[in-house]
């Protein structure tokens, strides 16, 4: 049987089931993008052009990460609680097809918010972006990484714990990550921690794609991202395959 066809049909199933909520998801993403840009603007007053560019190129990453790390695990935890996941696990679909279709859905759902984040940043701070064509791929990779990490989290942990963790993560991403400000402002231990977490590499990748003239991506960040994607996909796949 054609597994790609099955994957697309599953994607259709998941998308059509989420259809009533998708407008709401987009509204939340808009709110997030605007809140990040306007809210940080309020915090820092009138930013210098450098700071403004950081804020404007950080906001899209924040919306991407929030969908992947917060909304994805919340929806999966809900699917676990309502029994939808267990039912889907009885279907004659290979586990990796199932995972791929779910990750594809969450990767795509995050993209409108990212675009809105860019627009909000440009309008608010009046910055000049130098967009590289590969930013589309970068956005997909970042979205996939955060969706995988979020998915793995909710696959491995009990639903309640996963839901709680998403609440904590939102604080970490918004306030304690070098997304909207440079890492050099953070205490040293936090800088070290972020060298191994996926958040900083995600921010660097999106930033370099949007303001290609001002930022580059260290090779190490790509490696860290790659490792997180692989480990997360493996963990989620193992959890899906696990038999009680």
């Amino acid at each position: 049987m054609n597994t790609a066809r099955q994957g697309l049909l599953l994607l259709q199933w998941q998308l059509r089931r989420s259809l009533p909520y998708i407008p709401l998801l987009v509204v939340v993403q808009v709110a997030l993008a605007v809140a990040t840009v306007v809210g940080y603007g309020l915090l820092v007053g009138t930013p210098s052009p450098d700071v403004a560019l950081y804020l404007a190129t950080g906001a899209p990453t924040i919306t991407l990460i929030t969908v992947g790390l917060v909304m994805t695990p919340q929806m999966l935890a809900q699917a676990k609680t309502e029994g939808s996941l267990d039912w889907m696990r009885t279907l004659p679909v290979p586990r990796w097809t199932f995972l791929a279709s779910d990750l594809l859905m969450w990767t795509l759902i995050a993209l409108p918010g990212m675009v809105l984040g860019v627009v909000a940043g440009v309008l608010r701070f009046n910055v000049n972006l130098s967009i590289a064509p590969w930013v589309v791929l970068a956005a997909l990779l970042v979205s996939l990484t955060s969706a995988s990490v979020g998915y793995a989290m909710a696959s491995v942990l009990p639903p309640m714990l996963a839901q709680l963790l998403t609440q904590v993560l939102i604080f970490v991403v918004l306030l304690f990550s070098p997304v909207s400000y440079p890492a050099s402002r953070m205490p040293e231990w936090l800088q070290t921690a972020h060298q191994f977490l996926p958040i900083e590499p995600m921010a660097q990748l999106v930033r370099a794609g949007l303001a290609n003239a001002s930022f580059t991506v260290p090779g190490r960040s790509m490696v860290v991202l790659g490792v997180w994607v692989c480990v997360s996909v493996a963990a989620a796949l193992t959890a899906l395959r696990r038999r009680a």
């Binding site: 099955q6 199933w13 259809l19 004659p92 009680a244």
Partner: protein
């Protein structure tokens, strides 16, 4: 302990028997609690096998083992000659399962849900559309088929889940309590659909509490208790012990209190008693005397109605598992009972 109560219906040739789903398993739950212990049952193509047992008897565990959601500690589950424990993905390709919990389909209509699942199961679009329409008609749910699922009742959701399971049926179809929440008229249609499924060549493993109705469609019955097989036979074989025995049921008059003893004739063996009803069994040759006695009770107002019927599979089931676990007896008029 291994309990072998393996029996087969005799209508199938050896070459067909080599290719049927077969379950032999032994499961020990974690923390030393024993879940299932040596269940041995066969489901032949074309056969409906009923799996009966009270809550917690191990039915759902067994179902989850067949599709690889739960791993048995020992034993074998063979589907079409393939080891389902070692190859759960192949087991899933050949099995379709209606779980006890309803499938959440918010955002979809029943028809869309059935068709999408049919295509996910590998059906061609045109076939799936036709088969969906046939199922919708057979179960008389056409008026709800295109309603958003948020607005449909529990019974309709249950019937939709059934259709999703059988729209492209596997070689083995597992139905866990398919009649729950379904109205009496559509329950009959559902039983017919289950029978047709087997007649079309699928092996059907039917988990149910609804002994009385299942009797009409099952070819073979397995009764589970405490994770073990208590009895397994054809319905006629199981009921053989009750041949020549009748069940007498009384609807008690209003002035008979719950503690008042019923002066059954000596020929009657009392079985159940609750506030408004009492039942017992009687040998067929004494039935005429009991009818006379019951008629007298009606005359004096102690009994409102009475009835005599051939002892059913339900009676056999209750006798085997003990009245404490009797599932359908619990349905008897105790909708609201207040014990002060």
């Amino acid at each position: 302990m291994y309990s072998s109560v393996h029996r087969t219906g005799g209508n199938y040739g050896a070459e067909r028997r080599a290719q049927h789903p077969r379950i032999e398993q032994e499961v020990r739950g974690r923390r030393g609690v024993q879940a299932n212990d040596g269940i041995d049952l066969d489901v032949l193509p074309g056969q409906v096998v009923g799996l009966l047992g009270h809550n917690g008897a191990g039915k759902t565990t067994l179902v989850n083992q067949v599709v690889g959601l739960v791993r048995p500690d020992a034993g074998a589950i063979t589907l079409d000659g393939i080891d389902a424990v070692a190859h759960p993905h192949i087991a899933r390709q050949r099995t379709s399962i209606q779980a006890q919990a309803n499938v959440p389909i918010t955002g979809l209509t029943p028809r869309t849900a059935i068709q999408l699942v049919g295509r996910i199961r590998g059906g061609r679009r045109r076939d799936v559309v036709a088969r969906t329409q046939a199922l919708v008609d057979a179960l008389d749910i056409a008026s709800w088929a295109d309603t958003p699922s948020q607005k449909i009742s529990g019974g309709m959701a249950r019937l939709t889940a059934f259709c999703m399971t059988v729209v492209v049926p596997g070689r083995l179809v597992v139905l866990d309590e398919p009649t729950n929440d379904v109205d009496p008229v559509r329950r009959r249609l559902l039983w017919d659909a289950i029978r047709h499924l087997a007649d079309d060549g699928a092996g059907v493993l039917l988990v149910t509490h609804n002994v009385r109705e299942a009797e009409r469609v099952v070819d073979h019955l397995v009764i589970l208790d405490g994770g073990r097989v208590l009895a397994a036979d054809t319905p006629a074989g199981l009921a053989a012990s009750t041949r020549g025995t009748l069940t007498v049921e009384l609807d008690l008059g209003a002035r008979i209190g719950p503690d008042t003893a019923i002066g059954w004739p000596a020929a009657v063996t009392p079985t159940t008693r609750d506030r408004l009803r009492a039942a017992g069994t009687v040998a067929a040759e004494s039935a005429a005397d009991v009818v006379r006695w019951a008629q007298d009770q009606v005359q004096i107002g102690a009994v409102e109605r009475y009835g005599l019927a051939a002892a059913s599979l339900e009676d056999v089931y209750i006798r085997l598992v003990g009245p404490d676990h009797a599932p359908v007896a619990a349905e008897a008029e105790t909708a609201l009972q207040v014990v002060a």
